[in-house]
């Protein structure tokens, strides 16, 4: 186990290095810079701005400087939000995306797991068709359709929930619901498939034959098997939730990291782009690690493959 962790961590370092380099040069080769604006700036002033941020150095020198700072943990200042550091901005925005992601995930699990299990246990009945049908609809409905619909119904017409913002805890409900329902659908389908797979296994039949009660069989054996594909899905799902949340953040006006990233890309705010990409990559690596760990714990066979 320990070797496993160490080898994965070692693997992470060159990965992050490659990602940083790739992103750095990609953003620099794109047309447009952070100081292009619609009221023309006299050349001398533009040069001043660029030199303040070190943008007038040869590209490779800038790269080396950035990498050097990176190793020291310094992500640099933002070009667009002048006076703010990238790490400050990430510190502000990430907890927002995180709470959104976690709430959405909780909703996904709270709705998806029981629905999937129910469908598997009551296979080929209405308890199966209906939830799975709804799940299928959930997968096919983009969040920027569901979101405005929910807002229109619950906020504008019924005036029960806030339409936007991130100021009090009620602001959490609609966005997490919009984001979570999509993943709930996936979780339901995966749980169902996993459970059906497991329920057919020999060892489950053996347990039954030995006289174990259906409840015990369910909890001890079937659920583990049912949870396995969900856990495998969780890693990328959570990363997707947190990094892909920009649509929700845009519709609901939430100051999360996804929105920061997209705005930074549009503004050519190089340091924010780089900082966010690296941050997400690190997050995904850690999540994948955790997921692999969970997987190994749930499925003894997987352990051997490592």
């Amino acid at each position: 186990m320990k070797n496993f962790f160490i080898s994965r961590l070692l693997q992470a370092i060159p990965t992050l290095f490659v990602i940083a380099t790739l992103t750095f040069f990609m953003t620099r080769f794109a047309p447009g810079g952070p100081f292009d604006s619609d009221k023309a700036i006299p050349e001398e002033i533009k040069i001043k701005l660029q030199s303040h941020f070190g943008l007038n150095l040869p590209l490779f020198d800038q790269y080396l400087l950035y990498m050097k700072n990176l190793l020291a943990g310094d992500l640099g200042p933002s070009f667009k939000y002048v006076g703010w550091d990238v790490s400050e901005l990430i510190q502000l925005a990430f907890p927002v995306s995180l709470s959104l992601g976690v709430s959405a995930l909780l909703i996904a699990l709270l709705i998806g797991l029981p629905a999937g299990m129910l469908a598997a246990l009551r296979k080929n009945t209405w308890w199966d068709y209906l939830p799975m049908g709804i799940a299928m609809v959930g997968i096919c409905l983009p969040s920027f359709v569901l979101g405005p619909i929910l807002i229109m119904v619950f906020a504008t017409k019924l005036k029960l929930l806030p339409a936007l913002g991130w100021y009090s805890w009620t602001d959490l409900i609609l966005p997490s619901l919009t984001l979570g329902l999509f993943y709930a659908a996936y979780v339901a389908r995966l749980t169902r498939a996993g459970m059906l797979e497991t329920l057919k296994q020999d060892y489950v039949r053996t347990a039954r034959a030995k006289g174990a009660s259906p409840g015990r069989v369910l909890v001890k054996h079937a659920m583990r098997g049912g949870l396995l594909p969900v856990v495998t899905y969780l890693g990328p799902a959570f990363a997707g939730l947190v990094s892909g949340s920009f649509i929700i953040e845009s519709i609901f006006f939430i100051p999360g990291l996804g929105k920061f990233f997209v705005t930074a890309a549009f503004n050519r705010d190089y340091t924010v782009v780089l900082g966010t990409v690296l941050f997400y990559a690190t997050l995904i690596i850690i999540l994948n690690l955790l997921v692999d760990f969970l997987q190994a714990w749930l499925d003894p066979k997987a352990r051997e493959q490592r």
Binding site: Q11, M26, P31, N124, M136, V145, A193, S243, A265, Y280
Partner: protein, 296 residues
Amino acid sequence: MAGSESEGAAMSTKAGASLTRDAWIRLRSNRMALVSLILLALVVAFSFIGPLFCEYQYDEQNLDEQFLGPSKQHWFGTDSLGRDLFARTSYGGRISLAVGLLATSVSLLIGVTYGMVAGYVGGKTDAFLMRMVDILYSLPFTIFVILLMVLFGRNFLLLFLAIGAVEWLTMARITRAQTLNLKRAEFIESARALGFSHARILFHHILPNLLGPIIVYATLTVPAVMLLEAALSFLGLGVQAPMASWGSLIKEGAEKMDIAPWLILFPGLFFCLSLFCLNFIGDGLRDALDPKSSKD
């Protein structure tokens, strides 16, 4: 075990005919998949043949006929510039389906080749190639697609190349796993013994047996691609005006839901229906082609 050897033999191309027939029988008996297939065919027909029945062009503006509801003249109604929604929805379908298909093809091409080579060659090359895949898995991909589209412009070609490049990793993994399995099968060994070149083995023996999982995965990738394109349209990074895709039409319609619901209803319906059908067909194919999968 005796079981796997006989399966291996059954999977050789000689017995392929009976396998496909079995698969087809299984698929046919899956009602949902069949219905989905028919519906999808209808949607495709609508997108490509539909415009022939419509007297309006998708970009034909008529500023006197803005925001009209469905009527005899405009079957699906009109949008903010008086353009006929039926024409735009069918045109959008062409674009969305094309993007879906093309991007998936790109990801298939890259993923299958990559996985086959990794699995077949094995050893250090395999280890290295799969390590690269692991590294790439850590990339926040949506982020990168956005970055690519923002930085390098809204080129239609770039759009599906970028999306396709996002999806190939899983295909590579699946292909590699399958190739590893097949490599050890008897019929491959006999082909080697007969002196067939590597290339011939790869393309004539291994590839046909990968078709099953490839097709299944492809069918399930297309909806994912279409959703990604819709998300990009939401950010304004999708197709350029006056071109439309279902994604861009839905986005425009979502903003006017309370004043002109038909603007989101029709493109949304077709979009969701296509995704729906593709998912069911994919499920059905997976059940039909993989004899070990759980029977519903």
